[in-house]
């Protein structure tokens, strides 16, 4: 088992690979994530997104990766009934692009695809709590703890995931950092939503949109084929299991 950790996009990114992996592949994974950070970071004045927002770069002239991601943002807005929106009013009221909510998951999913292309069959690539996981035949599933939003040093549950993606969005710890695009105010729905499914891009978008959506998030999540979810409500005392995510309690 090899483990690598780097700090990219403002968060720890850890890669664990079962079995051998070429050092050049590991370098490629982290280099790809750093490139996405350089292109998309809203904290870097020289990123392409910052320049688009400043009016010094046209979207059509951006790197193909940026144009592709912006297309995904539009698809995300449609898939979530507008609850995921990368175009939000800035402090001055002018609309600003902030695709961060999609780009992180998408970048990690791409990195996972690259690992698989290079022959890695069992790995866990975890970017600040959102992750892609793969297990080769015969390998045990990865054990993924779901953080307890009421006690962030504890876990709500532990999920066994062989292949797929796990993403959690919420309002814990950093305060309400997800905005309801319809009101512009911090979302007041579930405190934490964890989504498990085949794609990290969409698991992450769905988790974020569910928090923004608030009331009715459970029902909306239940209508997403292939994705399961754990929704913790505002009081932090009630968890709703959407689609049978939790381990069966009377058997194993």
């Amino acid at each position: 088992m090899g483990t690598w950790v780097e700090h990219i996009m403002g968060m720890p990114v850890s890669l664990r690979v079962r079995g051998p992996v070429a050092p050049s592949t590991v370098d490629e994974v982290f280099a790809g994530l750093r490139l996405v950070d350089r292109l998309f970071s809203t904290y870097r004045p020289d990123s392409q997104i910052s320049r688009v927002n400043a009016g010094t770069l046209r979207l059509g002239d951006c790197d193909p990766l940026v144009r592709h991601a912006m297309g995904l943002c539009e698809e995300a807005r449609e898939r979530t009934g507008g609850y995921f929106d990368a175009l939000l009013p800035g402090p001055d009221g002018r609309p600003r692009w902030d695709p961060s909510g999609l780009v992180k998951g998408w970048a990690v999913e791409r990195a996972g695809a690259l690992l698989a292309d290079r022959g890695a069959t069992g790995f866990c690539l975890n970017a600040g709590g959102d992750m892609v996981l793969r297990s080769a035949p015969g390998q045990p599933p990865w054990r993924v703890g779901v953080e307890d939003p009421a006690a962030p040093d504890g876990l709500l549950t532990v999920l066994a995931v062989r292949d797929g993606a796990v993403a959690t969005s919420g309002t814990a710890r950093r305060g309400a950092h997800i905005l309801d695009p319809f009101t512009g105010r911090p979302a007041t729905g579930p405190v934490s939503v964890t989504v498990v499914g085949p794609s990290l891009t969409w698991a992450d978008v769905y988790a974020t949109a569910a928090v923004a959506r608030g009331t009715g998030a459970d029902r909306w999540l239940a209508g997403l084929p292939g994705y399961r979810a754990l929704v913790v409500d505002r009081t932090g005392t009630r968890a709703t299991d959407v689609g049978g995510l939790l381990p069966t309690q009377n058997s194993r």
Partner: protein, 158 residues
Amino acid sequence: MRRITLALVATVAGVVLLLSYKTSLSGPGTNAGSGQVGAPPGIVRQATPAPSTSDSAAPRPATGGDVTVNGSLQDNGFGPIQVQIQVSGGKIVDVVALAQPADGHSRRINSYALPRLRQEVLDAQSAHIDAVSGATATSEAYVKSLQAAIDAAHLGGH
């Protein structure tokens, strides 16, 4: 080994308290309806059936084999509740509910309380957890917290 056994019995007691949090005035032992619910509390060796029926005051130290520990049977006002923990090689490998009320209110409580039980049991054994998903994970402080600890455990241990 003895320490872990004592600790997990304490955990069982704590979780039974948690499950009983919304207790109504009806006391424990009032099994809502059916007669044969639950199992004798205490350590259950898989080879030999449990001799212990005391409320786990002096549990026997585990010897590294497979051991099953039952919590005491409680009633939370909606029905009987009992949990059971499996220990293998000194590690807690599972937590299950032997009995739980079936109404919707209790199901919601349990969907929180039982995973929480698993948390209490498992978070002392972070080597069993490969990664953590959480909304707080994006904060800088998290580097020093759970994910870092788990990464470090794996770096050092494998």
